[in-house]
Amino acid sequence: MRITQGCFSFLPDLTDEQISRQVQYCLEQGWAVNIEFTDDPHPRNHFWEMWGLPMFDLRDAAGVMMELNECRKVYGNSYIRLSAFDSSHGWESVRLSFIVNRPKEEPGFRLERHEMAGRNIRYTTRSYAADRPEGRRYD
């Protein structure tokens, strides 16, 4: 399966040139871009690991692309996403987020159903990959 989190997951994977243009857009808005990676892409896992701090005060997308390539060297078989933070009043949150790297195989999720009283069912979404220890999930 293909996880479709983030802004551009329904398009063919973005090329580095396309990624770079999106980063440049974020920087022009005054947003700080952060690189985040994970091997636990549960839809409610909000806190992917940070590859350094959000890059504040950056003017050129090349800086982000350089870091992204470094991150890919270490976590090339994990999910990596770029998130852009807007510090302006009234937002103070993420304004754009998109996946820029995926593991070769995306095992996806199992939906567990726990039958409750009446016809009620309690659902749990479980990542197949997360059954294995952190760091060895996409080996």
């Binding site: 997951s9 857009y25 998130s83 009234g90 996806g108 659902y123 979404t125």
Partner: protein, 509 residues
């Protein structure tokens, strides 16, 4: 001043027209002293409801009415009557006024302007002291402002066009239970409009069949599906059946996509107790969102907004019934006022027009509604029908929803008119897709992502829109087929409600 000239410089809250500019706004005619309280009937404009020298206080509520007096009725007297009948006055002088600080409680009409290009209609600006209103109650605010005066005989018609709500009053309301920022964080969706669809046909599907539509649409790529306004609990599908099957669909689609999904479970019912019961069940099942209809009334809406805040629930409002009083230009209440009231009342989503779809909505007026929902400060913009500066004092932002007769082929226009913080709902445009519901959803999502990508790259997406879509369709058969089926569908009809002021280019010297 030519009647159609744009008065951008005017801030009606604190400007008094010089007499030579508008000779209607003459001095006060108020009778003072003991003559004021002589038994009998006195003109409203002499009773203290017409005060052209009055400067509204920062804490005053200000209402702008479009007044159409009966033939032969003096517009100033008609406007003063509106001020009187929406505050302290009755048809005759009463001595009991003298037991009160009557001058404070009298609403004061302080300005009357002829409406541009509309003979017989006048804009009346009326200021109300904040002490006239109960804190945190739309019911009280609306009972005061529109409770009595709309059937007043000396008027042919009356419309509440806009209101300035002072920060002091705004701060007595909870505001949107969740707000745009937290909704996006909770849903993990950033940088693009959200996508939804209303399940069709809106009547007759069994719970199981209904859940099928929800699953297909969410799995295909939508973020939300939606109950329609009249889906409550009918013989063909009782509410618990719908909720159970819908949540199976939501959870299955979440696992299939790795994304957070939601379906607006309509909890509208005959009593508050029933609504609370349905909302509690939705929460128990793990729904992220519930839905109510405008017809449940302002107090019920505020109650559900408080419930939603307490229970981490997004609250969707369907503006069912609003066109009965918002659509006609001469009589009723403008939707911009309803939007302001609903932001105070505390809903998270409100249908606010599509511009390009099948339902009423002129682009400039719609822009005004969207600004009211989403901005922390609205400067007066007469060309958008926004008459007052409005501070929202960090009240949460309200997500506008565009629904009704829109399809993937219009994506560039929708993004241009409505921006990024909006929910685009393609009901027919998803479910009516020739390759099925999943394909319909995918077509919409691909069209949207392609357009956002192009916009961020700095392309002139409005003009290159069809080209951008055609390119995206090369790798997406569902989008290709959507563009073919609906390529010629547009809804071009004259709007019945639009701004009275239009910009006129100034002549370069």
């Amino acid at each position: 001043m030519p009647p159609n000239e744009l008065m951008t410089a005017s801030i009606p809250t604190n400007r008094r027209s010089p007499p030579e500019e508008n000779n209607m706004n003459m001095h006060s005619m108020t009778v003072r002293g003991k003559d004021r309280y002589k038994s009998g009937v006195m003109e409203y404009k002499k009773m203290g409801y017409w005060e052209p020298d009055y400067v509204p206080k920062d804490t005053d509520v200000i209402a702008l009415f479009r007044v159409t007096p009966q033939d032969g009725v003096d517009p100033i007297e008609a406007s003063a009557a509106v001020a009187g009948e929406s505050s302290t006055a009755t048809w005759t002088v009463v001595w009991t006024d003298r037991l009160t600080a009557a001058e404070k409680y009298r609403a004061k009409c302080y300005r009357v302007d002829p409406v541009p290009n509309s003979p017989g209609q006048y804009f009346a600006y009326i200021a109300y002291d904040i002490d006239l209103f109960e804190p945190g109650s739309i019911a009280n605010l609306s009972a005061s402002i529109i409770g009595n005066v709309f059937g007043f005989k000396p008027l042919k018609a009356l419309r509440l066009e806009d209101m300035r709500l002072p920060v002091a009053y705004v701060k007595t309301f909870q505001g949107p239970a969740t707000g745009i920022v937290v909704e996006r964080e909770r849903m993990d969706k950033f940088g693009r409009p959200l996508l939804g669809a209303t399940v069709k046909p809106k009547l007759g599907l069994s719970g199981r069949n209904y859940g099928r539509v929800v699953y297909e649409a969410l799995k295909g790529g939508l973020d939300f599906t939606k109950d329609d306004e009249n889906i409550n609990s009918q013989p063909f599908m009782h509410w618990r059946e719908r909720f159970l099957y819908c949540m199976e669909a939501v959870n299955k689609a979440q696992a299939a996509s790795g994304e957070i999904k939601g379906t607006y479970l309509n909890v509208t019912a005959g009593t508050m107790e029933d609504m609370y019961e349905r909302a509690e069940f939705a929460k128990e099942l793990g729904s992220v969102i519930i839905m109510i209809d405008l017809v449940i009334g302002y107090t019920a809406i505020q109650s559900m907004a408080k419930w939603a805040r307490r229970n981490d629930m997004i609250l969707h409002l369907h503006r069912a019934g609003h066109s009965t009083y918002t659509r006609q230009r001469s009589h009723g209440v403008s939707f911009r006022v309803i939007a302001k009231w609903m932001r105070l009342a505390g809903v998270d989503h409100i249908h606010a027009g599509t511009v390009v779809g099948k339902l009423e909505g002129d682009p400039a007026t719609t822009r005004g509604y969207y600004d009211i929902c989403r901005e922390d400060y609205n400067p007066a913009r007469l060309e958008h029908g926004v008459f007052f500066d409005q501070h929202w004092a960090s009240l949460n932002k309200l997500m506008p929803v565009a629904s009704g007769g829109i399809h993937a082929g219009q994506m560039h226009q929708l993004l241009d008119h409505l921006g990024e913080d909006v929910i685009l709902q393609f009901g027919g445009g998803t479910i009516g897709h020739p390759m099925g519901i999943q394909a319909g959803a995918t077509a919409n999502r691909v069209a949207l992502e392609a357009m956002i990508l192009a916009r961020n790259e700095g392309r002139d997406y409005l003009h290159e829109g069809p080209e951008i879509l055609a390119k995206a369709a090369e790798t997406c058969t569902p989008l290709k087929s959507a563009l073919e089926v609906w390529k010629d569908v547009t809804f071009n009809y004259e709007s019945t409600d639009m701004p009275d002021y239009v910009p006129t280019p100034s002549v370069a010297m």
